[in-house]
């Protein structure tokens, strides 16, 4: 390998190295953005992270991960060269096609490169890759790339012939099989980027070529240095003095360049030469305070750089600030431009080496700039929402680098954020609160109707409600109602006493509800239903859906082995389950000595008794899930058993699926059983399948996986507490439930919620270890809570008491309100989290 080729090699290694550096940078970026904008949900409102290659004027060039911006200008002078290029390219293409030999093809590509070197000296035949022998992958790749570019070049923006076709005629013919993938990768990258550049480049064919080439390599190797290494320099002539000319790669190429292209001299004279680029995303309001910095790498000829903000749809052939909804601070005169062609004296001028920062305050909708870490004072007020960070350049040689959080900022933006955070907090804390409940309600009403102009005080009104306890009547009422609602009667009593508040419900009633809730939360559904029917006879009658829900829960608790009916059969000490744990989340699982065989036993038992239709529901679901196979699932498998990728058939996936939750069961045994059941599975339910279930399923799978580590270390749990009689009772109960469901459907019409509920519950039986199954979440004690609150609300409703405690309502209201603020562009939401006020 000789000098040039090895040069390429080392460059590539640099690129690889750059990759890891990039990852590091990416990590740092994520970290910083999270720290600066904790209230941002990037799924909803992504933050700007780079300049947008799409939203730029063609005179602008991007590089270094789309963070560096340089001025390119029109580049039209290369037209004559373009014609030359096309001629040679056509010739070599023809040659390739006619000979069909790789040597010739390479030669042709070398010639092509020669063209770049010196258009007049076409015959000189200096080989571009002197040392690249057969099988030199770098040489091949480069040549191939050249060809792709040529293709793009020839067809320009109108054709965009798919890369695959290109690969089809060039790839298999000339390249060894193992290089094929590389080639196609290259092609894909090239074509995609060419398409992009075609849009940006208007009708300038040359532009397409230059840009296409650059990004073609970028697509394959992630970095434009690659493009240079292949010898793109001749075409992509950079402005003198730009950092590109200092690059060492292939200086020979540029040295041979005898005819300098006198193009740029006309540039930058008029505003017509201005060009802007904006970031990929607008600044989300929930940032509260947003900040980015731009370093002036070179001021170029005249230093007409503008840094600022612009809304969507603003003309990119202008500097920021000149047009409506566009704002900028310009380096040549230090003026600020607020949607106007004439600037206002604002700050100092800026030039090479300076770092200019732009801070958008989304709370009072102002903006200020910083220079080298020093705040320059407010530049704009009354900014509209959804502005994009924008830079504009106007003369050759201007190069700027953006920092959207990739590096530490020069200006102490965190300090500024802190100021505003404390300002808003004080505002909330100091918000005057009315004395009567009526006022609260009025305020909330207002808040709902005026949500679009929600300001921080509006949210404060709501949030304030949780913040203090005790002084104002309405607040005490709210607290006490909350206590009463949830049946914390002792507390409520004490509270009422201490605050002289009348509780709106008799204590006896509270105690009743408390009792029922206790039962539900302990999983003793049977008793709970019984007690409810006793105490509130009309309730369940009037509310069959509620009853159904309770019954389904009872079934689940039976599976769990916690329901009273099953438990007495299981003969466990009821005491261990009697008291509901203080916090519902610390569910203590019934711990029983595990027995592998017992598990198998119970499973077979289920199976044998399970000519029963419901059971197959899972199986169809299972296979369904596999067939509608989806990426997450596969990658999921990949993690555990990479080998399964080689022969991805249904069986193996099935295998892995069942194995993940039950990594301890002997796999052969298990697989046998599963496949068995698969073939077995015929049922009425299988037909309505889980068509939409796949995605959900995967999610659950992941959850299972997450919990797996913990669970596997725990002791095993057994179905229905492991008692045979209990299992029979459960099966029986399941039948009753099925019947009830059918009856319910006849009476009240279809109810998808009920159906899903039932199906999910029955699905539990399909697993050898329901707790670790995808539907196992139902067994979690947390799931008792919604049932409990539904029952509680229903009881309260019959007593004409509010379904939801006002405190919870207010909290929900506040949370919603904050979300709405974020969407409607009110920045103060960034510093007002409801959680901060819940002590």
């Amino acid at each position: 390998m000789s000098g040039q080729a090895s040069g390429c090699g080392s460059l590539m290694s640099v690129v690889v190295h750059g990759d890891s550096a990039l990852n590091e940078q990416e990590k740092e970026l994520n970290q910083r953005l999270r720290l600066l904008y904790p209230a941002i949900n990037e799924q909803e409102t992504p933050l700007p992270r780079s300049w947008s290659p799409k939203d730029k004027f063609s005179y602008i060039g991007l590089s270094q991960n789309n963070l560096r911006v340089h001025y390119k200008g029109r580049q039209r002078a290369a037209k004559w060269q373009l014609a030359e290029f096309v001629r040679v390219a056509l010739k070599s293409e023809a040659q390739i096609l006619s000979t069909g030999r790789i040597g010739a093809w390479k030669k042709a590509s070398c010639r092509l490169i020669d063209v770049n070197q010196s258009p007049e000296d076409l015959g000189s035949q200096t080989s571009f890759f002197p040392g690249s022998g057969e099988g030199d992958s770098i040489g091949d790749r480069a040549a191939l790339l050249r060809l792709v570019l040529l293709e793009n070049f020839l067809h320009g923006e109108q054709s965009n012939r798919p890369a695959s076709t290109l690969a089809a005629w060039s790839g298999p013919k000339h390249l060894a099989q193992d290089k094929c993938s590389t080639a196609s990768k290259l092609f894909t990258g090239a074509v995609i980027s060419v398409k992009e550049s075609a849009v940006a480049a208007e009708s300038d064919g040359f532009e397409v070529c230059a840009d296409g080439r650059r990004r073609a390599v970028g697509g394959a190797e992630d970095g434009y240095t690659g493009a240079e290494s292949v010898g793109a320099r001749g075409l992509l002539r950079e402005p003198v003095g730009s950092p590109y000319s200092t690059r060492t790669a292939l200086h020979t190429v540029s040295k041979n360049y005898t005819k300098p292209l006198a193009v740029k001299e006309s540039h930058g004279k008029t505003p017509k030469d201005a060009a802007s680029v904006r970031a990929t995303h607008p600044i989300p309001a929930a940032c509260g305070i947003y900040y980015f910095e731009v370093k002036i790498v070179s001021k170029g000829r005249d230093g007409y750089m503008g840094i600022g903000l612009s809304a969507q749809g603003v003309n990119m052939n202008r500097l920021p600030g000149w047009d409506k909804q566009s704002y900028g601070y310009h380096g040549d005169d230090g003026h600020s431009f607020c949607s106007s062609g004439t600037g206002q004296p604002y700050g100092p001028t800026f030039t090479t080496g300076d770092v200019i920062g732009c801070c958008v305050n989304l709370i009072n909708n102002t903006c200020f700039y910083t220079k080298n870490g020093h705040s320059l004072g407010i530049a704009f007020t009354d900014l509209p929402p959804n502005l994009y960070p924008t830079v504009g350049l106007q003369t050759p040689g201007e190069v700027v680098d953006a920092n959207f959080g990739q590096h530490p900022f020069l200006f102490d933006i965190e300090d500024y954020r802190r100021e505003w955070q404390s300002k808003i907090q004080t505002q909330i804390d100091g918000f005057p609160t009315g004395d009567r409940e009526g006022e609260w309600q009025m305020m909330i009403q207002k808040q709902i109707t005026k949500t679009l102009q929600v300001s921080v005080t509006a949210v404060a009104k709501t949030i304030k409600r949780f913040e203090e306890t005790g002084i104002h009547e309405d607040r005490t009422r709210m607290v006490s109602s909350y206590l009463v609602h949830h049946g914390y009667c002792a507390t409520a009593e004490a509270f009422a006493k201490s605050t002289d508040q009348a509780v709106h419900e008799e204590l006896a009633s509270i105690k009743n509800r408390q009792k029922i809730q206790k039962l539900v939360l302990a999983g003793r559904m049977g008793e709970a239903i019984e007690t409810t029917q006793q105490l509130y006879p009309s309730l369940v009658e009037r509310n069959p859906n509620l009853l159904f829900m309770l019954k389904v829960r009872q079934f689940i608790e039976m599976v769990n082995g916690t329901d009273s009916e099953v438990r007495c059969l299981g003969g466990r000490s009821p005491k261990s389950q009697d008291s509901y744990p203080g916090s519902p989340r610390t569910f203590s699982s019934p711990s029983m000595s595990p027995s592998h065989s017992a598990n198998i036993h119970s499973l077979t038992l289920v199976k044998s008794s399970g000519s029963h239709g419901h059971l197959a529901g899972f199986d169809s679901n299972c296979s369904n899930g596999v067939i509608s196979n989806n990426a997450p699932n596969q990658s999921h498998c990949h993690k555990h058993q990479p080998s399964c990728l080689t022969t991805p058939d249904l069986n193996s996936i099935n295998n892995t699926r069942s194995q993940q939750p039950n990594s301890y069961t002997s796999s052969s045994n298990d697989v046998d059983m599963e496949t068995d059941r698969c073939s077995n599975g015929v049922s009425e339910l299988s037909s309505n399948g889980f068509l939409n279930g796949s995605s959900k399923h995967d999610h659950e799978m992941e959850e299972c996986e997450a919990e797996m580590d913990i669970d596997s270390t725990q002791l095993r749990r057994q179905l229905c507490g492991g008692s045979q009689a209990a299992i029979e009772r459960m099966i029986h109960f399941g039948r009753e439930l099925q019947a009830m469901s059918e009856q319910l459907r006849r009476e009240c019409g279809k109810n998808s919620t009920n159906k899903k509920m039932l199906k999910d519950a029955f699905s539990l039986l399909a697993y050898s270890d329901p707790w670790n199954s995808p539907v196992g979440y139902q067994l979690d004690s947390i799931q008792r809570e919604p049932v409990c609150s539904a029952l509680n609300s229903a009881i309260l409703e019959t007593h004409n008491l509010p379904k939801q405690p006002p405190l919870a309502q207010a909290m929900g209201q506040a949370t919603q309100c904050l979300g709405l603020m974020a969407r409607s562009g009110s920045g103060s939401c960034a510093f007002a989290a409801v959680e901060d006020y819940l002590h």
Binding site: P348, H374, L376, G377, R418, Q421, S422
Partner: protein, 673 residues
């Protein structure tokens, strides 16, 4: 309330109050200690928030009795504590109250009380002491009279949060001179107070912080120690930086910024340190913003002015930070026209601070424009800036006048401004008026501004001369203050530069040769230099030289000889030789040198001096004397040849210094021609 009552009614009410007050005092003399205690407690409740009652009790002589009770061991802890509390309450009243308390020797009594073992009593005493010392009428020296007091107070710093708070507060109000700083420093104030900065109590933190700010002020020793102090493993400067965070209370930010400013000015922190450039400076600029209280804005601007005064880079940064220059313009808008009508309270508040605000703004403008021409331009371009300065020069408040002159002085360093806006606004007029009878500090600033205004390119020079500046400046040269003498003679020097004959003669006449000689023997070398400069400026252009030398030649030659013989630094001697050179340029004046062998010998000596500058000046003088084409040049050349000057000149042509070599060659050519 009292002022609203009719006069006779008020008197009757007063007598009633006095009568009821007497009852409280009487109870202090009850033989039953229990009843005395109850009486003191009742008194405590009666005086809280009632200045009238306080005054009454003092008039009725409660203080000596309370002090007596307080000092008596037999009184019992509770009674003594209550006495201290009541005294503290009394001290909270008017200045007169404090005065009477101090006159009753309350301070020694309370200091004695600090030696007690009872913490509550100590706290009460400290609180009372604090209140007394906070008042401006209390002589702080009282704290230092007994050498044992400071160490004891230091030891109290570890007792409780209250003792910490009060002790620090006492320290920071009693630390007024470098001596006080040294005393506190020597008793380990820094080590004892540093850890209080991270106290959980905000009040303690604040008082400790304030303590450091007064300790570090213009004190390199303290400042140098402070930078190396570690608080909980953290450098003190970092603790201060954290206290300047924007979410901290404004008072804390401001005081921490002051500490760092003082440390920086005392040379303990470099001016390009990040904690100054990126933290302290922006923090102080923030303190100047409209959102801050008027007091904070005054404090912020003054501290910032102090911080950036010596450093042009800091001035540049401050000038672009947050539109500071425009922000300061707002300082002149008090009392605002709105407040005058709508809100009496606010008008009062504004009026109180208006002067302070204006002088702070002037000070900061002065610092900002001290060195950088661009910044000066920006300042002058601020709305009505020159008008404000002009009216500031004639304000009643001395502080404002002084600050305005300082600002004017800063701006007068700009040639362009001297020629334009200074002329447009005729600033010389109020300046001259200010110079008539002003306190010394104002005079120093004003006269040094006048120096700039008298530069030959300044259009103000003429009108200033016409308004009798010469006499005024001459009288300044007779001042006690060296600064004023320098400024006076400096201004005269500037005035004489390339001036017409009449002005020069006026200066000489007004100054009188006696005064000139006095100035030539002035102990201040600056005065001497400027006087020589004046002489040199007077002795320029041939006719002037001859005329002045014909009238004052003898004295001048005497003075020159005297200086050349005396022990002076090289600059002075060089200046003197230049004067000789000037004299040698005259037509008739030349003879005064030629007939003076003494002087010629001196010149000869300096031509062979080791210092090139002196050699150059001496050679210059000789070259003037032997210049051809002038009457009698031949004789002079011969005479000097006789004295051996040619040999020296010949030697000097071999000099390594090019300018000296040139000069010697030119002189030699005179002989050859």
């Amino acid at each position: 309330m009292a002022c609203l009552l009719e006069a006779p009614l008020r008197i009757s009410v007063l007598s009633e109050v006095t009568a009821s007050s007497r009852h409280y005092v009487d109870r202090l003399f009850d033989p039953d200690p229990q009843k005395v205690l109850l009486g003191v407690i009742d008194m405590k409740n009666a005086v809280i928030g009632n200045n009238k009652q306080k005054a009454n009790l003092i008039v009725l002589g409660a203080v000596p009795r309370l002090l007596y009770l307080l000092q008596q061991d037999s009184s019992g802890a509770e009674l003594r504590t209550e006495c201290a509390v009541v005294l503290g309450s009394l001290a909270m009243g008017t200045e007169n109250n404090v005065k009477s308390l101090v006159d009753c020797h309350i301070i020694p009594a309370l200091l004695q009380g600090l030696l007690s073992q009872d913490l509550k009593f100590i706290e009460a005493c400290l609180r009372c002491l604090r209140t007394v010392f906070i008042s401006t009428v209390t002589p702080v020296q009282l704290l230092y009279t007994d050498a044992a007091v400071i160490p004891h107070l230091m030891s109290l710093l570890s007792r409780s949060r209250r003792t910490q708070e009060y002790t620090c507060q006492i320290f920071c109000h009693c630390c007024k001179t470098p001596d006080h700083q040294t005393i506190l420093y020597n008793h380990g104030a820094i080590q004892n107070i540093a850890h209080l900065l991270i106290s959980s109590s905000y009040k303690v933190q604040m008082q400790a912080l304030k303590c450091f700010s007064v300790l570090a002020y213009e004190n390199p020793q303290v400042s140098m120690t402070l930078v190396n102090v570690l608080v909980d493993g953290e450098l003190l400067s970092q603790v201060f930086v954290r206290m300047m965070q924007r979410d901290k209370p404004i008072e804390m930010q401001l005081t921490a910024a002051k500490c760092l400013t003082y440390m920086c000015r005392a040379g303990a922190i470099r001016t390009d340190d990040n904690c100054i450039v990126l933290k302290t400076l922006p923090c102080l600029v923030r303190m100047c913003s409209k959102e801050r209280l008027l007091e904070e804005r005054v404090d912020g601007a003054e501290t910032l002015a102090y911080l950036i005064e010596p450093d042009v880079e800091l001035q540049r940064i401050a000038s672009i930070t947050d539109h500071l220059i425009a922000m300061l313009a707002d300082y002149f808008k008090y009392p605002s026209s709105v407040s005058a009508i709508t809100d009496i309270k606010r008008l009062d508040h504004d009026l109180k601070h208006a002067h302070e605000l204006r002088q702070a703004a002037f000070k900061l403008y002065a610092s900002l424009g001290a060195n950088d021409e661009d910044i000066r331009k920006k300042i002058i371009e601020t709305e009505n800036m020159m008008d404000r300065i002009v009216s500031g020069l004639s304000e009643s408040s001395i502080k404002v006048r002084l600050a305005a002159v300082r600002c004017l002085h800063s701006l007068s360093r700009s040639v362009q401004q001297l020629r334009t806006s200074f002329q447009d606004h005729a600033v010389w007029k109020p300046l001259m008026k200010l110079l008539q009878n002003a306190p010394e500090e104002v005079l120093v600033m004003a006269s040094s501004t006048l120096c700039n205004l008298l530069l030959e390119f300044s259009p103000s020079k003429e009108p200033i001369l016409e308004s009798g500046a010469i006499d005024l400046l001459c009288s300044l040269t007779q001042s006690e203050s060296p600064a004023l003498r320098v400024n006076g003679i400096w201004a005269l020097m500037n005035m004489a530069f390339q001036a017409e004959q009449k002005i020069k003669m006026d200066i000489l006449r007004a100054l009188s040769t006696e005064q000139l000689f006095r100035l030539l023997s002035d102990p201040d070398v600056n005065v001497l230099m400027k006087t020589l400069g004046l002489l040199r400026n007077l002795l320029s252009t041939r006719p002037h030289i001859d005329q002045i030398m014909s009238s004052h030649g003898k004295q001048i030659m005497q003075a020159v000889t005297l200086i050349l013989e005396g022990e002076h630094n090289i600059e002075v001697k060089e200046q003197t030789l230049c004067i000789l050179a000037n004299i040698g340029d005259g037509t008739t004046a030349k003879d005064l040198i030629m007939i003076n062998d003494d002087v010629l010998q001196k010149i000869k000596y300096y031509m062979g001096h080791s210092n090139v500058k002196l050699q150059l000046a001496a050679t210059f003088c000789i070259s003037n004397l032997i210049w051809n084409e002038e009457e009698g040049s031949q004789e002079r050349q011969d005479r000097l040849r006789e004295m051996g000057f040619v040999d020296i000149l010949h030697k000097l042509t071999q000099s390594t210094d090019p300018s000296l070599c040139d000069r010697a060659k030119t002189a030699m050519q005179q002989y050859l021609a």
